[in-house]
């Protein structure tokens, strides 16, 4: 291979870049730390599932300010079906712009439910998103599809995520 000026530049940058990245990792101990311990991972999962469960409750009407006409998210979206979180951001005709899921959640709260919008950065909104996304885990991310209804994970029993159950009836 004939060494042109451009080739020489690429070779030099190819050697420098990995070294520079290693230097950055060394300067940031959080990114280079050992894998999390089993206890830490369990604690992280519990924190996530706590938010998922809170989102599921909100989804089914536990926050009165989210409705003035009795409707809850779960009326139209059982098991978070047809909320299509994996297709966001996408153009929402009703909002007139490319929007994230949280904007559509607030639109549903304000318009069909006649309720008060959630703080888009608040814990309740994070919980709502956590529930919707968790119920679509493993689904293909495909931003921009607005006309198709996607489906959530198939739920045989329980809440669709790890949950101790109420012990009543079939909720074991």
């Amino acid at each position: 291979m004939k060494l042109t000026t451009k080739n020489r530049f690429n070779i030099v940058m190819g050697l420098i870049t990995p070294v520079a990245l290693l230097g950055l990792l060394a300067a940031n101990p959080a990114a280079a730390r050992e894998p999390f311990s089993a206890d830490e991972l369990a604690a992280q999962e519990q924190a996530l599932l706590k938010q998922v469960n809170h989102g599921r409750d909100l989804w089914h009407g536990t926050l009165p300010s989210m409705t003035t006409n009795g409707l809850a998210c779960g009326n139209c979206h059982p098991d978070a079906a047809a909320s299509n979180p994996q297709t966001f951001p996408k153009f929402q005709a009703n909002l007139g712009k490319v929007s994230p899921l949280r904007d559509m959640i607030n639109w549903c709260i304000v318009v069909p439910q006649g309720g008060k919008a959630l703080d888009v950065n608040g814990d309740d909104m994070i919980a709502m998103e956590a529930y919707a996304f968790y119920m679509h885990r493993g689904k293909k991310i495909e931003p921009g599809l607005a006309t198709e209804q996607t489906t959530p994970v198939v739920v045989k029993s329980g809440r669709g995520f790890p949950w101790k159950g109420s012990g009543i009836g079939y909720d074991k």
Binding site: N69, G70, G74, C76, D79, V154, V155, G169
Partner: protein, 339 residues
Amino acid sequence: MTDFDKMSRREFFTITGKAGLATLAASAIGTNFGMVQVAEAAVGKSKVTPFRFAILTDAHLFSQPDHKFDTMLEKAVNDCNNMKPMPDFVLYCGDIAQNGLDDQLQKGKRILSKLKMPLKVIPGEHDWYLDMGSAWRGHFGSPTWSFDHKGVHFIGMNSILVRDFWTKAGMSAKERMDVMEMLESPIAGPWGVREEQLDWLKKDVKKLSSDTPVVVFTHSPLWDYYPRWNFQTEDAPEIRSILKKFERVMSFHGHVHQTVYNKIGNMGSVGTLSTSWPWPYPDVKLAHPWSQMNRSDPGNFEDGQGAQYIDLESNFTAMTHYQPFGNMLNPAMKNGFKI
């Protein structure tokens, strides 16, 4: 002359409005409204006289005055009254109320009383579990009935009966209702018509000849569509077995809030549009995917909802027409479909 022809609309609502007297009154005019009254076969071996009937379902009325769902049920009633030809009668497939409250049932009865034709009703779970059907029976009579009309045998049954999960848990009536209101509640378990109605059904059809056209109404589908959301009836196999002697059976059901068709053996099964909200399709591969409606527009409150009417022909084929408020039917359904 048929059962419905024999009574005026005023007489019909008088009967359905007096639960305790419903069976007695019905018996007096030769109509079978109650579980104690088993139909005597008056049909079969003869052609159907063509006629139309309509189906409304799943209004889910709330207690608030001037709720948007009131308007949509009123609109569907108006649509029925303006059908040409006019339906001979209207069948309501359950869930008049959202929370099982008497005022919600009263409101539904008041709106439905504007129909210009007779009405028959079966219950849904939202009508039933606050007081175990007491108020509903007071307004609409027995949830189990049959009648004959122009050569066709019509059957209605209560398919939302669950096993007792509330007594042992010490739940209040409101708590029981709350459990039943949530579609994906894991607590209540499967629905069914249960033994008493299965026995009634056996007796009801015992004397009917196999060429009798039979139409059956339930709130939930008589096939295993998606059990998670009670898009099924646990003892549907027993129902289908009892009805298997007939050449053809048509089943119409509420609950699914969507268009859907399926066929098992001699039974064609049609889901119906609600007047409240559309439900998404579950992750199930439909045997007849053409019967799936387009995705509803969330910005249009009326989209994915409406009424339906069925034109029965002399050979007992049925042209089923969905009549949505919005334009959400795929081409295969726009002009009706045969079952």
